[in-house]
């Protein structure tokens, strides 16, 4: 057992526990804060995978924006501070079964696949993921179309969401 395996196991276990709390806790504000813990765990996993840019973006976008948006939405849609009634719907047993099946299926799939023994290759010297990303996002033979479409998607989301959420009196 090497040190990076231990780090990974601790982080992964913490992240999964936080994720479980997201879906089981009754208090929605707590669920949102547990989601933040989960997202932070995923950011650490990105850092362990040497994806520095994505790790920081995960914190900036998910924790700094999406999670805050969730907290705002929870606070805007509550009648009082306490939650009443069951948090799970009638079919939660069915949902749990489906989730367990999905996990078992995926685990079997991973187990049976020959590619999992792959080892990570060393980074070529002078390789910088951010500038590689910059190249990929704007060079015409790579991802320039997704890059531009992403901005159209974001504008569509902005206009649609603001239109829906805006309180017309």
């Amino acid at each position: 057992m090497t040190i990076d395996k231990i780090i990974f196991l601790i982080v992964a276990a913490g992240t999964l526990i936080a994720a479980l709390r997201v879906v089981t806790t009754g208090n929605l504000i707590h669920a949102a804060f547990w989601l933040i813990a989960t997202l932070f765990g995923v950011a650490v996993i990105f850092a362990v995978l040497h994806a520095s840019f994505l790790a920081v973006v995960q914190v900036v976008v998910y924790i700094g924006a999406i999670a805050i948006l969730f907290i705002f939405a929870v606070m805007l849609t509550r009648k009082d501070m306490r939650d009443q009634g069951p948090q799970l719907n009638r079919n939660w047993g069915f949902g749990a079964l489906l989730a367990a099946l999905a996990f078992v299926g995926l685990a079997l799939l991973v187990h049976g696949w020959s590619g999992v023994t792959k080892t990570a290759s060393a980074f070529p010297s002078g390789f910088d993921a951010v500038s590689a990303l910059g190249n990929a996002l704007v060079s015409p033979d790579a991802y320039v179309l997704p890059f531009e479409v992403a901005s159209v998607l974001l504008v569509a989301a902005l206009v649609g969401a603001v239109y829906v959420a805006y309180n017309r009196k």
């Binding site: 879906v23 362990v48 969730f70 719907n89 489906l98």
Partner: protein, 102 residues
Amino acid sequence: MVPLSWYLIFSAALFSIGLFGALSRRNLVAILLGIELMLNSVNVNLVAFWRYGDVTNITGQVFTIIVFAVAAAEVAVGLALVISVYRKRNTVIADEIDMLKF
């Protein structure tokens, strides 16, 4: 070195937890929280495959960024709908929003 399969199992577990949340929670915001977990597990997979494949091929990271954009758009519109529904129906429980139009 952590084997690739650990990351895949981790992300599969995260996905399943998210799936459970999305299927079983009554609150609309909680359902969206579950969907967030699922999107994150996808990102873990994409980055793990980038790291364990050819690192000079940046496709995995590009897709992760696209997923960030999609997640942002999904959350923005989803929560806006929740707020709009709450304003009209005064509830955010998925079971109680059973009319086809309002």
